[in-house]
């Protein structure tokens, strides 16, 4: 009898909760008081925790920026570490509100998986890391190599394409988790470790002797990484998109965390519009008008985020490259706020 009761309880739970209609993500988030943000399980510089359990990184800062825009509190974020495999399911099922987990924007994901990419917070490409003592200077010399990578990402397909296109034999060793790839590469199982170049710089820190390894110059793919939301909620999509654009615009206009208050008195109409002094752009996306000012005050502009997490002065030491502003030789470009 107990079993019957249990069964019907579960069924009732399913049935009853099915009846609760889905609300807009922004309303949900406001009701919860925090954003649920999907991040990676540990990639230094992008999303990683320190010993005290605090999340830091570029992807994490994007979530904090969204929280700042909505709540004026960058700490109103709850993080869900996700593996490459779980990330889309987690977003689709509503477990997370936004996925900020170095995810590559591809057509299949943007269309067939029911996702929306809000922008490109980091232009990346797949690269190779090898031991210095192998004496390899180019990826084209990798014929016959053992290649370590992790499954569930575009890297596995890219590397197959690259080696096939160059008619080089290779042996693939594909792991479920990034940490296992690093361990196996460190143990000498493979000659080559391949993933997004940013990931190579980040994972290199985890090797026993980072200096013994080098990243090869070839970039074999385009990997535009950015935050992702579900399809079907345009308001939430707009918020995500424009938080990113605001970060880039702020850098372009020279607004930083330090000078944001002072800039509110600026004569530049573009800055006034950005900081909500003029116009009602915040209302259009369901937020307060000073949304962008909050974002910049709490987490800084795009350049500051980049420098703080992955820039040349961090252990990762990545230069801006493609991620510099369009006006400075890169391709980070945001539509104007007007």
């Amino acid at each position: 009898m107990n079993k019957l009761v249990l069964g019907s309880a579960v069924a009732a739970a399913l049935g009853l909760s099915a009846a609760t209609a889905s609300a807009a993500t922004l309303d949900d988030v406001k009701a919860k008081g925090s954003i649920q943000c999907g991040v990676s399980q540990g990639l230094p510089g992008f999303s990683n925790t320190d010993d005290a359990g605090t999340w830091t990184g570029l992807d994490v800062d994007f979530c904090r920026a969204m929280a700042a825009a909505i709540f004026d509190d960058p700490e109103a974020v709850r993080y869900t570490p996700l593996s490459a495999k779980e990330r889309f399911t987690a977003l689709q099922s509503g477990e997370v509100d936004v996925l900020s987990r170095n995810t590559t924007w591809t057509m299949q994901r943007d269309t067939a998986l029911g996702l929306n990419f809000a922008g490109v917070t980091y232009y990346d490409g797949q690269g190779f890391m090898v031991r210095r003592d192998l004496g390899v200077a180019s990826a084209l010399e990798l014929s016959g190599a053992s290649v370590c990578t992790n499954t569930g990402t575009t890297t596995e397909l890219n590397v197959a394409d690259y080696f096939r296109a160059n008619d080089m034999p290779y042996e693939i060793v594909a792991f479920e988790k990034a940490d296992e790839v690093v361990q196996a590469y460190d143990a000498g199982r493979c000659d080559v470790y391949t993933t997004d170049a940013s990931g190579l710089y980040a994972q290199r820190l985890k090797l026993t002797n980072p200096d013994e390894h080098m990243v090869l110059p070839e970039i074999i793919s385009k990997e535009p990484l950015g935050p992702v939301v579900r399809q079907g909620d345009d308001q939430w999509f707009n918020i995500t998109k424009w938080v990113y654009f605001a970060l880039v615009n702020a850098e372009e206009l020279g607004v930083t965390a330090a000078n944001v208050e002072e800039m509110k008195g600026s004569n530049n109409p573009a800055i006034k519009r950005l900081l909500g002094v003029e116009g009602a752009f915040g209302e259009a996306i369901g937020l307060e008008n000073d949304w962008a000012a909050r974002v910049i005050a709490h987490v800084g502009n795009y350049g500051e985020i980049f420098e703080r997490n992955v820039g040349p002065d961090t252990p990762l030491g990545i230069s801006r490259g493609l991620n510099a502003l369009w006006s400075e030789g890169g391709i980070q470009y945001a539509p104007p706020i007007r």
Partner: protein, 439 residues
């Protein structure tokens, strides 16, 4: 009547000579147990050689060449030409992380209380001579899980209206069933009071548990992604055992039921879960379960894994319990029926107490298996002890060539102590129970 012809007649027994030197003492023992023939001698030498190959390097690594103090990786890097053993300061530095994962430091007292309560609940339950078994079991299987959930997560799960509606609905349904004989005019209300009380109990307890979880005790909420290490290992193992015992008993009873549909459902359920690997079940719970649920209903990742583990363990537990049920002679069933006991009374009062006692070793063995299997959750990205240890290998502060060996050795010692301890306990119970049988 003497016999003068004989030169000598022994009139008293000769003193027993000691056994030959080659048969007694250390020498005799060695001769019998080590060198009793060519073949045996060869085996002994081979065995000693194997020991020589294994033991000294292990001891050297773990003790003699090991590094015992140090601040960071520098201490554990090989000195010039020196052979480096285990890097114990790394374990010392990471120990808190191995126990609690990333659980906030100022909240760790809550975990400690849960560990302590679990210990206090489990130890008397495991000692056959300890009194208050019934209360103890109720505490460990009923009260303790609720307290733990509240303490570990912080409680205050809000007030899901549908949950309350569900409880009220089910209570009404149960009361209705209990009072059914009254409605059809077969019994007076007074006669059904015990049944009504029973129905009340069955639903009052979950209601109280739900209530307790919704109350805000002012504890800081701690998200499950922050949990890790031994905490997660024990949460999964204890959930598995606490959930699998009742579900397993119901399944075992169902499999031996007279009702064909119930039997069929139970057989399919049990054989399905036993036939597939746990890892695919974990994949299922992490990838497929969200698809089965209505939109916007999500489960915590840890909870999903727990559900998978609970069902998996239940199926194994069901088979163990079924073994016990089969060992109860038919006479016991018939005797119970002859006394006029109903099915549940018969099971509760006569059969299950005997059957469960018989299968305690089997239950402990299932638990050992479950305890070892908790490591699998690291594949779906939860950080149990082994997962946390693996994670710590990538900390640049401690990355040395011996870090991973040390970490695995630490994990091995931890799991081995637990599992070997439990297997000794199971053996002890087996001996104790069979002693009872022999009498």
């Amino acid at each position: 009547m003497s016999q003068p012809d004989l030169a000598f007649v022994r009139t008293e027994q000769a003193e027993t000579l000691p056994a030959p030197i080659s048969n007694v003492g250390a020498f005799g023992w060695m001769r019998e147990h080590l060198f009793s023939g060519l073949w045996n001698t060869v085996l002994t030498i081979l065995g000693l050689y194997i020991l020589y190959l294994l033991i000294p390097p292990l001891l050297n690594f773990a003790i003699f060449d090991a590094i015992w103090t140090g601040e960071d990786r520098e201490a554990c890097l090989a000195t010039a030409g020196g052979h480096v053993g285990a890097c114990w300061p790394y374990v010392d530095a990471k120990l808190d992380q191995f126990i609690y994962g990333r659980y906030p430091i100022e909240e760790r007292w809550r975990v400690n209380i849960v560990f302590l309560l679990g210990f206090l609940g489990l130890v008397p339950l495991a000692i056959p001579a300890a009194p208050f078994k019934r209360f103890n079991a109720i505490f460990f299987f009923g009260i303790y899980p609720v307290i733990s959930v509240v303490l570990l997560t912080g409680g205050g799960f809000g007030h899901p209206a549908w949950l309350w509606a569900l409880i009220v609905l089910l209570t009404l349904a149960a009361a209705g069933l209990a009072l059914l004989p009254v409605f059809v005019g077969q019994a007076k209300v007074e006669d059904q009071l015990p049944a009504l009380g029973m129905a009340g109990m069955v639903f009052a307890v979950p209601a109280a548990a739900v209530w307790l979880m919704t109350v805000d005790f002012g504890l800081e909420p701690v998200e499950t992604p922050l949990w890790g290490g031994i905490l997660v290992t024990l949460v999964i193992a204890v959930t598995g055992i606490v959930a699998s015992l009742p579900i397993g008993i119901l399944l075992a009873l169902g499999r031996r039921s007279d009702m064909p549909m119930v039997r069929l459902v139970c057989i399919i359920f049990i054989e399905f879960w036993r036939g597939v690997p746990l890892i695919t079940i974990l994949f299922m719970s992490s990838v497929m379960l969200p698809l089965f649920l209505p939109e916007n209903v999500t489960f915590d990742k840890l909870l999903r894994a727990l559900i998978g583990v609970a069902f998996f363990a239940s199926a194994y537990m069901a088979e163990v319990v079924r073994g016990g049920l089969q060992a109860i002679p038919n006479g016991q069933y018939e005797g119970a029926r002859a006394l006029g006991l109903g099915y549940w009374q018969m099971m509760n009062l006569i059969v299950l107490p005997q059957a469960l006692k018989l299968v305690i070793p089997g239950i402990v063995n299932t638990f050992i298996g479950l305890f070892k299997d908790t490591t699998l959750v690291l594949i779906i990205g939860l950080f149990d002890l082994l997962g946390t240890i693996q994670l710590s290998f990538t900390d640049p502060k401690w990355s040395t060539p011996v870090t991973s060996h040390t970490g695995y050795l630490f994990a091995a010692i931890f799991y081995w102590i637990f599992c070997y301890g439990m297997s000794r306990y199971s053996l002890y119970m087996e001996k104790k129970l069979s002693a009872g049988e022999r009498r």
